[in-house]
């Protein structure tokens, strides 16, 4: 029996239970890594939201039973750390070009579930035209954008989605519209394009939003499988390193500073004609 921290106002046991062996009289409800992530170890910073988002995406693929026919196209960014860890086929694209590479794949192999994983800097700054034109052409792919408002991998500067007031390395007092311009809402931009089947924005700042985001990704892949055209899911993720805040404050910072501009929800859902 050990006391490890001050006890708050609520009634709390101070007993620390053993957590090094699996119990015998219990069912496993969540494993360390989902089936489609081979290696859980990665070099991303403490408190990063991207592994949580990628877990949600891989869980959604497993739910739909698409593991054997799915192919991921990774852009360049922190999320590229996972391009070697997944138990699905992976292609590596150049900066911002993932939707174009995915276009090539889906045109040659239309039966596949092709999806891209990009950050907001990759998709929004380096290759916005790629995803917009892929959407307008109605390419039958799923595009996932992990949005933290920061170029995490290349130094921490602001991106096109950085919200007003958000801290990054070169907006350390918060983004100011007079100095730094206004943020773009990529999901809304894509939702207005004909040829798009499904557009939604999720977040991973708490367990409820993770579950909701997982359902959005399931819907996106279901729409892709129904042949409704491009599906787009933007996932708001935490970057405490890029925001210069403690890791435990990042979920609330996301809810207060970023979700106000980038509202979570389903923006477009086309019904299949079948």
């Amino acid at each position: 029996m050990t006391e490890r921290r001050p006890v708050g106002l609520e009634v709390r046991s101070e007993v620390v239970l053993p957590t090094n062996v699996a119990p015998e009289d219990a069912n496993l409800v969540a494993d360390f890594t989902p089936n489609l992530i081979d290696v859980g170890e990665h070099h991303l910073c403490p408190g990063c939201g991207e592994p949580i988002a990628i877990r949600a995406v891989m869980d959604a693929i497993a739910v739909l039973g698409l593991a054997d026919k799915s192919m991921a196209v990774f852009g360049i960014g922190c999320s590229t750390a996972f391009s070697n860890n997944l138990d699905v086929e992976v292609l590596q694209a150049l900066h911002g070009r993932a939707p174009s590479v995915a276009t090539g794949v889906i045109r040659m192999r239309p039966e596949l579930a092709v999806f891209t994983i990009q950050g907001d800097g990759d998709m929004g700054n380096e290759g916005l035209q790629e995803v917009l034109h892929a959407a307008a052409r109605g390419e039958n792919i799923v595009c996932i954008m992990l949005n933290n408002g920061v170029f995490g991998e290349t130094g921490g500067h602001l991106t096109v989605t950085t919200t007003i007031g958000q801290r990054t390395k070169n907006t350390i007092e918060g983004r100011d519209a007079d100095k730094h311009g206004h943020p773009m809402r990529i999901a809304e931009l894509i939702a207005q394009i004909d040829g798009v089947g499904y557009v939604a924005r999720g977040a991973v700042n708490d367990a409820g939003n993770v579950a909701r985001t997982k359902r959005m990704v399931v819907e996106a892949f279901a729409s892709q499988q129904a042949g409704n055209g491009l599906s787009f899911v933007e996932i708001l993720t935490m970057c405490p390193t890029g925001w210069f805040i403690p890791t435990e404050d990042a979920p609330d910072y996301l809810a207060e500073t970023i979700a106000g501009t980038h509202a979570v929800g389903v923006l477009r859902q086309e019904q299949s004609e079948q």
Binding site: R4, V11, S13, E14, V16, T19, N27, V29, P251
Partner: protein, 91 residues
């Protein structure tokens, strides 16, 4: 808050924690609805990070596993709920 019965604290689940994989980000502490995860204050893993420990009252809700960026949690739900008392421990 822990679910309490007349005879003690109800424990419906438990977790196995991969302490060495933890980077001490505290996200699980915020996510835990029954508030039964606590970061160590006096111990770290071999990489120097504090890590979470399990107190009595887990419900097996898997919120910790869903929000952990480093995949540190394996969540179990007991076949039959157990009761923890200060005299008899977990039974």
């Amino acid at each position: 808050m822990n679910a309490k019965s007349a005879s003690g604290i109800v424990v419906r689940g438990t977790v196995v924690i991969d302490v060495e994989a933890c980077k001490g980000c505290d996200l699980c502490i915020e996510a835990c609805h029954p508030d039964v995860l606590a970061m160590t204050t006096d111990m770290t893993n071999t990489r120097g990070y504090r890590y979470p420990e399990l107190l009595v009252g887990c419900t097996g809700c898997r919120a910790c596993a869903d929000v952990c960026p480093d995949f540190c949690f394996q969540v179990f739900r007991f076949n039959e709920p157990k009761t923890w008392t200060s005299e008899g421990g977990l039974q």
